[in-house]
Symmetry: C2
Subunit: 349 residues, 2 copies
């Protein structure tokens, strides 16, 4: 059978393990899956379509004969190995922030800007998790009514910080439930000086702070939105907050549209027909999205759409999606599907 050889870099991580699951559901033929990780994880095994695959250490030579390499092992690993993979003929789909704002690298949410992948030069970037779900929901509104302004406050899950952060949250929670002392060594950001407990708490810091008081996570949402929508004039601001949820980012999003004619009903109608979106918006019956319900699903769920009480063109909504699935693994596999669908990739063997 003529199929692709796919490499997953970071195969033991929170996103990597989901990438393997999502590849099982991909709409393209796969000949071989190579699972790559750090030396520490080499020799471990994982299942792909019921078959055991041994995890190998990532080296430059790992990418020989690889057609598509999905990276999710941190920015420094991408910087080190993505060019090696490209040199060996692979197309890299990178889920780190390493290349996202590189003008040469398309930043793609297939429901929004699939065509951008045509211009790739070997690397395609997968946007930040919190950006992706917002793009899927807002793009149909932008296309219909224009988008002047976005203000988002996030309620982000701990799995976005990796498996060890989830483990720590659960340990903290158990200690707190037992009225025992607890420790914090990971969040808000592995590379930062101080650490705070996340269990039964809310941390208004994701990633490091920049000079103007915003975090890098907030700047990712701001800058990636403009790049993906191809419009530098959209006003975007973000406050990114970690809350004690395992998986599933929630977002309180305020938008101002440009054109007349929008209404709650018309935006609901757009959401019903939007690819990748499921409308869950029926306040009378308490229908709205929640993180626990979204966990494990591919869709972006939108609810609580309501008009601002003061501004005619202002709307509020609540956008939820599984940060590991649509926010990371599924979006990456969708990009691979797009490469296949648009015939932008050939098998090397």
């Amino acid at each position: 059978m003529n199929g692709y050889t796919i490499a997953v870099v970071g195969a033991t991580g929170a996103v990597g393990t989901k990438m393997i699951q999502m590849l099982e559901q991909a709409n393209f033929p796969i000949n071989e899956v190579k699972l790559l990780a750090s030396k520490r994880s080499a020799g471990k095994k994982a299942l792909f379509n019921g078959k055991e695959i041994e995890i190998q250490e990532t080296t430059a030579d790992s990418f020989e004969n690889v057609d598509i390499a999905l990276f999710s092992a941190g920015g420094s690993i991408s910087k080190q190995f993505a060019p090696e993979a490209v040199e060996r003929g692979a197309v890299v789909i990178d889920n780190t922030s390493a290349y996202r704002m590189d003008a040469e690298v398309p930043l793609v949410v297939p429901e929004v800007n699939e065509e951008a992948i045509r211009s790739h030069k070997g690397i395609i970037a997968n946007p930040n998790c919190s950006t992706i779900q917002m793009m899927v929901a807002l793009e149909p509104i932008r296309k219909q009514y224009g988008l002047d302004r976005v203000i988002v406050s996030t309620y982000q899950a701990v799995s976005g910080a990796g498996v060890s952060a989830v483990k720590e949250m659960k340990e903290q929670a158990q200690h707190m439930l037992n009225d025992e002392p607890y420790e914090a060594a990971i969040l808000p950001s592995g590379g930062d000086k101080k650490h705070f407990p996340i269990a039964f708490n809310a941390l208004p810091q994701i990633d490091l702070f920049t000079e103007d008081g915003y975090t890098f996570e907030e700047l990712k949402m701001i800058n990636e939105t403009k790049k993906i929508m191809g419009d530098d004039h959209i006003k975007v601001s973000a406050t990114c907050v970690r809350i004690p949820v395992v998986s599933g980012h929630s977002e309180s999003v305020y938008i101002e549209v440009k054109e007349d004619g929008a209404s709650v009903a018309s935006i609901q109608e757009l959401m019903k027909n939007a690819p990748g979106v499921e409308l869950q918006d029926d306040p009378d019956n308490q229908v709205y999205p929640t993180a626990l319900e979204a966990e494990g699903k591919k869709e972006t769920f939108v609810g609580r759409i309501r008009k601002d009480r003061d501004l005619d063109k202002g709307y509020h909504m609540w956008i939820v999606s599984d940060n590991l699935i649509k926010g990371a693994a599924w979006n990456s596999v969708q990009i691979a599907e797009s490469l296949h669908k648009l015939k932008l990739i050939k098998t090397t063997n």
Copy 2:
């Protein structure tokens, strides 16, 4: 000693128990504290200044000789007994939503509009928890620069829904940590049809829904802000969300001021000098407020003050306070202190 007789109605509740603690720290003389609750709780005992007090069933006659009655036993209890208390000469400080929007009833955050209590006709309303902390932080900014607009997304603690909701969250969390089935019977709102788990989740519903898609909690923030600040023209919108925190509401607040001249530094300076506010805003050293740190404290903590990147008069900030303390019990006791300080109350005995 010439002191007041104080009644606490709802003395066994999440707020009532904090009211007793806060009364121990009040700046006025107390002769007697009467602890009132439902028939079910009558006979239980609680400590006030180390002295055991038996809890009595609330009846109209409970308010004989009471000077100040603090109510926090739900709106229907306030509707039933507040007029009885007033008839017997007590001043009622009501922590429910029963009278807040009544034009005859002052709605008071002492740091903001203490003078409003002079017009009371027997009942003074304590604002909603999520409103109070926002008012304490925003009023100094409004006074200096005017306030055109507020958009707030809340991260509200479970204790706002009472002791039983906290108990249920902890049980759910324990079951989830054990990978066991769990139940939800209380949140998002005791009086609503459906219930959702709050542990490791975020619920975009607090209180019931109104006809236009906003919840009553959101309308409380919108309407109470205008009443407390005495300005119907401030544009206010709110998205109120419950997260798995025991006590301590966090708020992501966006404001637009009216006048020129504001800056991050000038707003930080206002916060440093604002009564009831503690500035915790030093991103370089990861200093910002969190719910866990605010728990048990009387202050409202403000941090992450930063300029909107697109609008010159737009600012974002993160406001945290203990919803049971400043958001309820402490603000009520502060109102009692104001009554005493402004000589608006005499002892009946």
